[in-house]
């Protein structure tokens, strides 16, 4: 199942000439113009073909490449969009939609859910939305039709208090029916205040900070033992890194050379009672991870392209686990919430209205 169309695939789709030309020559042209390795384009063309968006015969016999009907439909959708990650068409429960729109909708749903539930960590959910969207909409190998698929990529929301953001993404991806989202924290609802494995698509129960990376280590180890290509992603809070168990797990992952494990730190600079710099200084953060044997890199955690680039870079790391320090803004996306003040405040009707308006 094709979950997403990436930058390169969009380029290919929008560069298929109307006059038939061999796939190799088309790709070579794109490669030259956009400075993208030919092999990358070939791999992507192969994927587009597999999913029936383009068609071509054996490249060696110079058969022409063509858009299929589905391919033409999608390429039309992306016309006019810059081939940015935001413009990527991603598969949602309601068909292919541009990622940028999806992310806005996720923010809206997070707002609505927390307002409806009457409690929740709003600011921290908003800072993490982009990361979650990139993971579930683009990066991860998973299948909403088969949530327990053995070779899927795993995701552990170690900062479990942003369950609303996870549920919103899982719903968009097809795991949770949208009409259930507003039952968050309702008695009897499956949508617990913190992630619960009972919910299809939730890979780990969390809520007590500091435990998720260890769980991710276990999953990555199992994947190695089974020779599965499955990768594991763990999202941590920056305040959460105060917990020693995170550093225990960091040592374990490095010792076992788990290059199929990626941690992402939501570096929003705040924890529950204030700025991390004041509560417990964590800088130099990348140095900490490096000295614990990890490949460490920074990314703009509210910029999908930056997140995706960093995630792709992690795939190339061998022999050790990798961490992305994703610089984010608490309350991201809602001008009057960015910063700390609103970070745990439940929006009232007025605030909800204003916030939703900003997202249209």
């Amino acid at each position: 199942m094709l979950r997403t169309i990436n930058k390169n695939q969009v380029l290919i789709l929008t560069n298929i000439p109307r006059v038939p030309a061999s796939v190799t020559s088309v790709l070579r042209g794109i490669s030259r113009r956009h400075k993208i390795p030919l092999s990358t384009l070939k791999r992507n063309a192969q994927i587009l073909k597999e999913f029936n968006l383009i068609s071509y015969g054996d490249p060696s016999n110079f058969a022409g490449v063509e858009l299929t009907e589905l391919g033409r439909f999608i390429s039309n959708l992306t016309v006019g969009e810059e081939p940015t990650v935001h413009g990527n068409m991603v598969q949602t429960r309601s068909g292919f939609r541009p990622l940028g729109t999806v992310i806005k909708d996720l923010r809206k749903n997070v707002l609505r859910m927390i307002a409806e539930a009457g409690s929740g960590h709003l600011g921290a959910s908003l800072s993490a939305v982009d990361i979650l969207a990139i993971l579930y909409m683009i990066k991860m190998k998973h299948d909403p039709k088969n949530p327990s698929w053995k070779d899927r990529d795993r995701f552990v929301l170690s900062k479990g208090h942003v369950a609303p953001a996870l549920y919103a993404v899982l719903s968009e991806a097809g795991y949770i029916s949208p009409d259930r989202l507003m039952t968050l924290r309702e008695i009897g609802s499956q949508l617990q205040g913190h992630p619960d494995m009972e919910i299809p698509g939730v890979d780990a129960s969390t809520g007590s900070l500091g435990q998720g990376l260890s769980i991710g280590v276990g999953m990555a180890l199992a994947s190695k033992m089974d020779g599965s290509g499955s990768r594991t992603y763990v999202l941590l809070g920056d305040g959460e890194l105060n917990e020693g168990q995170v550093w225990e797990a960091a040592l374990t992952a490095a010792h076992h050379g788990l290059d199929n494990l990626t941690a992402i730190v939501d570096r929003n600079g705040y924890q529950l009672t204030g700025r991390t710099a004041e509560i417990k200084a964590m800088d130099p953060l990348a140095d900490k991870w490096r000295s614990f044997g990890w490949e460490a890199m920074e990314a703009d955690g509210n910029d999908p392209a930056s997140i995706l680039d960093a995630l792709n870079a992690c795939d190339l790391t061998t022999g050790k686990p990798s961490v992305i320090i994703a610089i984010t803004t608490k309350g991201k996306g809602i001008s009057f919430m960015e910063g700390t003040k609103y970070s745990r405040k439940t929006p009232d009707a007025q605030e909800l209205k204003r916030a939703l308006k900003e997202l249209t």
Binding site: A117, R185, S189
Partner: protein, 315 residues
């Protein structure tokens, strides 16, 4: 019926400031939940005696042990699940074994963090703390009693655990109420059965007893605020004089007050007993704390029912 309510944490937070004025050695440690536990009042008044630890509850216990070993009276206050349960072995090894003067305050206990769900709901903390030798363990019924309990444990040398609820809870006591560590309060006399309760179940027990009185059933109500050291005399007396016992606690029926009373009865005076509490099951999220309490069987109705049941079994 309109019941008066008050916040244990609000009262606790204010009382800490009063104690800070008297006790120069009092210091407060915070694992990044100050705004929720209300130690913010202390932090504002005594910033130099307020120690930010960040989100590392285990380290906090060790730091408290070191402070106590150097003559301070540390109050280590956080969510019960993390400060009592996450750090239990540290409390056992670094505090209880050397008998250091560390006061641990677990807030958001029981089902009181109802919306957060099972990850935060704490119904094993009394069980785990009760097994530590020489630990003082208090579960106050309401806000005024929480204040007196705090004073009592600060005045008593050695390790102690104070268990508090989040949010507003019904009030059974007046401000400045009588409180003696290790001595149960008989809140209502009775002869047909006794309810031994603590925490938020105390007001419920009084409610149930009130209703049963209407039917001519005379129920004694004990507030067993101190689970350790346990007032076994009061338990045996209640058993002897009323012949039927019900325990009520916002905790698992395993390991906590119900268990402590059962141990006492079995060894001192076997008596029919029923336990009201969390029936060895997981919690869940609920926007309403009351609704969750009801779903989990923690109501005055459940106490009433249990009293009838225990009385039936009386010889």
């Amino acid at each position: 019926m309109q019941t008066k309510t008050a916040s244990q944490l609000e009262h606790f937070g204010r009382a800490l400031v009063d104690l800070g004025l008297i006790h120069e050695e009092l210091v407060v440690l915070d694992p990044d939940v100050a705004a929720s536990t209300k130690v913010t009042y202390f932090a504002e008044r005594f910033p130099e005696r307020f120690i930010r630890i960040g989100i590392s509850e285990q380290d906090m216990i060790g730091v408290a042990a070191g402070l106590a070993a150097s003559g301070k009276t540390p109050i280590a206050c956080g969510f019960a699940m993390f400060v009592a349960c996450r750090s239990w072995e540290q409390i056992s090894s670094s505090v209880a074994r050397p008998g250091l003067n560390v006061k641990i305050v677990g807030t958001h206990s029981g089902l009181s963090p109802s919306a957060d769900g099972d990850s935060h709901q704490t119904y094993g903390d009394v069980a785990v703390m009760r097994v530590l030798p020489d630990m003082k363990l208090v579960v106050p019924a309401d806000a005024p009693e929480a204040v007196e309990a705090l004073k009592a444990i600060v005045d008593t040398p050695g390790p102690a655990y104070l268990r508090l609820a989040r949010g507003e809870t019904p009030v059974a006591y007046a401000e400045g109420c009588e409180f003696t560590l290790g001595r149960a309060n008989v809140l209502r006399e009775g002869s047909d059965a006794s309810v031994i309760a603590n925490g938020v179940m105390v007001p419920m027990a009084l409610e149930a007893a009130g209703r049963l009185a209407g039917e001519g059933i005379s129920v004694r109500v004990l507030d067993m605020h101190t689970v350790k050291p346990l007032d076994t005399d009061a338990i045996v007396k209640a058993a002897a004089e009323t012949g039927a016992i019900v325990t009520a606690e916002e905790h698992s029926v395993i390991g906590g007050l119900g268990s402590a009373v059962a141990e006492t009865l079995a060894e001192e005076r076997p008596t029919p007993m029923e336990r009201v509490g969390i029936m060895d099951r997981f919690g869940e999220s609920s926007r309403s704390y009351t609704a969750l309490m009801a779903k989990m069987g923690l109501t005055s109705d459940a106490i009433e029912e249990a009293v009838r049941e225990a009385m039936k079994r009386r010889k």
